[in-house]
Structures are given as structure tokens and as C-alpha cells.
Subunit: 132 residues, 2 copies
Amino acid sequence: MGKCGQRYTQSRKEIVSAIAKYAQPVGIADLLNVLKELPQSSLYRNLTVLQEAGVVTRVMSSQDGGLYELAERLTGHHHHLVCSVCGDVRDVVVPDALEHDLDAALLRLAKREGFSLDHHRLDLIGRCAKCS
Amino acid sequence: MGKCGQRYTQSRKEIVSAIAKYAQPVGIADLLNVLKELPQSSLYRNLTVLQEAGVVTRVMSSQDGGLYELAERLTGHHHHLVCSVCGDVRDVVVPDALEHDLDAALLRLAKREGFSLDHHRLDLIGRCAKCS
DNA sequence: TTGCTTGCAAATGATTTGCACTGCT
DNA sequence: AGCAGTGCAAATCATTTGCAAGCAA
């Protein structure tokens, strides 16, 4: 991992690969369930470290308890389908053309507001197939 | 308000007008600070009711503690500039043309995924003028 | 008078932290 | 040796809830 003194320990590897196994953001409970021997305090601590290291990202869900996923630089840029009924979150990729137009427009907008844009976050809210 | 048996009580009016006074999403702490005589349990309870009544919306912030704002049907559709340094959230309106294209594209996308789209949420992440 | 509201205090649940200990390097 | 990582239990913070009393329709 590197820069500072963080080590890429066994636990951290396991956490990352556990998250990687899912095709969508994972909650703490699920992770604990998979990594049975890992105490939750360690999970939390490691997730924080991994976040700072830019390896994982925390996704805000309306449901309590945050969800975690691999950082975009590992998975590619994507957005989320958020089911407002069951709280399920799934990844989607929007067409490049749209993404491009969006970026251009948002950059212009941000500039006008004196805001230095880093990236954007786009969620589609609605009902998943199950909850329709 | 109406449909069910919810009443538009004094406290609720005060909460709504307190939120309305801000030009941006407000945190619980700020609200309590303005509505000094209101116990926080009542604040929480009333915010929940107001949310269900479609009057206020809860905005997820990376910082702990949610932020609240008036529902879009009262303020108009808008998005957020989120400062990743100080956590400040400010409203922005994006050009109609873009909004329109976005909606069209997202609707198509959602349909393809078997997801029934209700609305979208778009945040611009970066640094506000102060934190640049 | 029936049912929604309120306050208060206590309960919850998610996340964080202190501390002593283990393990890399 | 010296710093980073770990477990556990206790602490913290935001939010929720039970209950008895107040108020509006």
C-alpha cells in the first residue's frame, strides 16, 4: 500500500477480497458474517484505513449502517440503483456519452460557483425489480 | 398536510420555518440551536413525520448526523455541492437541458435494469471556495 | 373522549476508543 | 527495539422508544 506506515496485513487483504466478491456495496453485518473470526472493531478500524488509502469507499445508504465497496479506481466509474423500499443498492454504469456531457456541464457549473470539482455521485432512486 | 391523522402543530410549523430559513441543508444540532425550547426527541419525531408527509427530505452527509432540507416539491429540483473538506453542503440547480437529457438517459437505463425509476440524486464532490 | 403529540428519561444501535498485547521489519 | 496492528471491553454519539400527561378535533 505504501506511502505512510500502513501495512497490507492479512486481515486487510481478507477484507478487501471479501468486498471484492460482492457485485454491490456490502454492509458491516455481511462482512462480519463472512469474516467470522474478525472482531468488528478491527473491521471498522481497517475499513477506515483502507478508505484513507483509497482502496474502499463508503456508500451512504438510507438504511442504517453504511455500505462499503471497492474504490472506483479499482472498479471503474459507476453509479447506484437505490431501492427505496428494501434499501438494496446495485451498481450501474451509464453510457460514456452521457457521463462525458455530465462532467463537462458540472465542471462549468462548479467553476461558476467557485467550487473546485473533484468528482460526482449519481444515484437512481426507485424500486428494484423485487419491490416493484 | 392531511391524509392521515397527522396534525400540523405549532412545533412542526416552527421546524419547517426554521429549515426554510436556511439556504442549505441543516443539521440536527443547528435546528436544536434555533428551536431552543424543543426537546431533541420531539425534533427527531417531528422530522420523521414531516418526512413521511413529504415536507422535508433527509440528505445524507459524509459527516455524521443527517442534514435536512425542504422537500423538492417545495423548493424545486436541485442538487448538492458537497465539500469533502469541511462537509458543507450547498444547493445548486443544473441547466434544464442537462437535467432533461439526464432524466431521459437514466430512465432508459433503469428500464433496461428492471428498475422503476422514481428520481435521481446528483452530488458534486470537491472543495468549496473556503477550503480550496 | 379518542387519538395524535409532547417531554423526559431510558434504551438502542452503530461506530469509536483506551489499553495492554502481539507481530512485523 | 520500535512502530503498526489486534482484541476486548468500555465509551460515545446519533437516533429511537416507553410511558404518562397534554391537547386538538
